[in-house]
Symmetry: C4
Subunit: 258 residues, 4 copies
């Protein structure tokens, strides 16, 4: 495999579709929110994304089956519009890979005529409030007007300087293809990095469901997070360890050019 | 050379072929097992794989001839089915390279109509038992049923979280091409990394020969390992040293963007 | 996005055009000078350059809009000749990327029939003189003759051994395409790296405006630098932090090839 | 510039041509020997090689002209056969780049119908003998027979385990294209890395000139080395510093995936 590629399971006919992205990141807010949405909406997998910019390994599951790291797209056929939800095990392990992967996701959006993206993530505020704020960022001024009624904080009153990885780049690269993008970031403590924060996920899910005008049962989120956390921790631990090892292996002397 | 490529020595006609892979890794279990199998079966080289993701050097042999790092495919024409055995000096030195190399190996499998892969490796349990366990992993549930009679441990009762490199990725990438894959991991102490473990290799060879219904003389394994170890240690030491040097060379200050 | 690409906003008709480049670097001399020139000449944006070799993030602006890192080309229609000015948020974060990005810039020059490039930068002398020197470097001997009357120091009496990044490579790669290049480097202290030096920028602007035979109001430079500095510091801090994190994330042990 | 490329200055008609390579490495033995050969034979430049795998900078020369890092091919029209000599400022700074660059050099050999390569280098023995040994390595057994009469040591009685970079890879990659290759390594102390060793260069030049049946004045070698050393030291210092900086820049914390 030489390049990131998306494998369609089937090509759906879509009605005014929208993409929601939630991948691993701070507090796993995006990943948990997207995962819960997929579960509660019983969304069906329509495509998988594989990339040589993920870690070069498979995860060995308790049932002795191996799992290749990937992202996946799920479809929920809504009444008024269809929702494609993107989640996955991993983001790129190289800076370059983020651009390649997000470029392919944008290409898929164009093929599926997706004109709007909502990306979900967390932001580390250092504190853990009762009611986490949901900060908004967009790639188009008109979206602020459209979305500000949904309790999204567009005040700029925060310490977020950049949005790293897919949540940010999808908005950035989407702009050039006339895809509108909204990023929702739920407030979370931010440390330890491995800690999953269901409260921040709940906060952004409340906003997302209002925007989409759908209803989901939020009572099982805590329970669901507990179930997901085990597997999330595992994959993240692997990433930390592998990335360190890649460097660690490179530490004793001789001359390079002989 | 810009990409990994496989050079066919000749294109064989194959009868229901199967690929066995054994490359450098923990305890050199896979490499030793594959090497011994090639030797005992007098398998013939049919192809070589070269990659820009190996170390950029040649090994100078005692006879003054240089040797480019590569992987090679050997063929044993069996009574019922043909066996292609893959071994080599090295795996990729970059994460990306693992995907490129395994992608090319899977491409070759498709060309040769290989529908099944058995990958061989070791797993570090921290202890050195008299009878090393052979843990199994697969990319297809039905293979567990098919193979569980061969004293392969599919219990999930171990601490292996991931399978890194070709042994894992061939199964993972193979799945998408409808290639069934079984990974056999022989238990080994796991340290020092350079130590080759013939007992773990023997354990997986016993399973492999039963699966393939072939007989090989196991008495010469110890002797053979002693012969191989010299050259294996050399290549691995080179890898350790080179990779460290690549980093080490990069350690004194000035400003980068002038 | 798999490769660096330049997105034309419109394709201008140009009269004997010249490219001026000023990107982030020592003392931000080049970036500040180019930025001020664009502002004072009210140059119009004609193209944007995006690259997978920038950091994989978007900058979140106070108005809640995201900004993808990019370089941009601005056009000033002069009386005798047209001036294209290149500036941007960032340079490549990989050595390879510098070549790819500069290669694309040179390609654009060829398309727009730009035959001459002036690149702007700083050089760290360790001291902060009242009248900073402007050191010149070129890719063609005849340019020394042509430009030496403009108070450019071609004496070779300095400690600059190399010119890193776009300011140097554009001259180097331009030579092969018969594009003449002049690099002007304003003397600056050089530490701390984040400090922006308006005096060095002013020194090279004085030379540039004389060469181009244009007049700009230099009195607002200090003020302008103060405004720019906030945002420059922010982007640079991000770069420092991100690049460190990429390494930092890679620091705990396990075995790589399992 | 996205890939290594060779720019022909003119395409020569060649008579039974042979390539001699001498690039930077241990003791600069190969580079010095190739450089002296070019000078003494008044060989003419016929091609230049540029690569995005060199450092992304230009060298600023005392005459205010910039110089892009490159390799170059020089031609000496001999009585019986023509000699193409390859030297340069740098080798690849990435492992992958070595393969790309050597692949392009081999491609040129094929175009020019070069069937034989002699690569020149040093090997660090830790001692500095009066008469440095010249160790030989080849990619074809028959060459040992052919060349052993020239005081080349093919005994295998040394501690060289690998040949890194172009001197080794050209032989390795050449084999697959039926290009015969001989590597001559002159014995040198090996530290400090920056020290240029004219005696080792002289030792291999004596062998090379005998093989080629040409005569060159060896008396000016010491003098010539002194002249070359200044510029060699400069380029190498730059490499050390730049490569360190690339790493050094990456050292302070924040979270990567936000």
């Amino acid at each position: 495999m030489h390049q990131t590629r998306i494998k369609m399971i089937y090509k759906p006919r879509l009605k005014n579709p929208l993409l929601i992205e939630g991948l691993p990141g701070v507090g796993n807010v995006g990943r948990v929110a997207a995962g819960y949405l997929i579960h509660e909406l019983r969304a069906k997998k329509i495509a998988e994304l594989y990339s040589p910019h993920f870690l070069p390994l498979v995860v060995l599951q308790p049932n002795s089956l191996v799992h290749v790291l990937n992202m996946a797209f799920y479809l929920y056929k809504g009444r008024k519009r269809d929702i494609v939800i993107l989640t996955g095990d991993s983001q790129s392990i190289t800076p370059y890979g983020h651009y390649e992967i997000c470029g392919e996701i944008i290409n898929l959006c164009k093929k599926l005529k997706i004109k709007e993206i909502i990306t979900l993530g967390g932001f580390a505020s250092g504190r853990s409030p009762k009611t986490p704020r949901v900060i908004g960022a967009t790639n188009s001024e008109k979206l602020i007007e459209k979305y500000k009624k949904y309790k999204i904080d567009f005040s700029g009153n925060h310490n977020i300087g950049t949005i790293v990885g897919a949540s940010g780049l999808l908005l950035g690269l989407g702009r050039a293809e006339n895809i509108d993008g909204l990023c929702l970031m739920g407030e979370t403590v931010g440390f330890p990095f491995l800690l999953t924060d269901p409260k921040a996920a709940e906060a952004i899910l409340k906003v997302v469901t209002k925007i989409l005008n759908i209803k989901i049962d939020m009572t099982k989120l805590d329970e669901s997070v507990k179930e997901m956390e085990e597997s999330i921790k595992k994959t993240e631990k692997i990433h930390q360890e592998m990335l360190s090892q890649i460097i660690k292996e490179r530490k004793t002397p001789t001359h390079y050019i002989g």
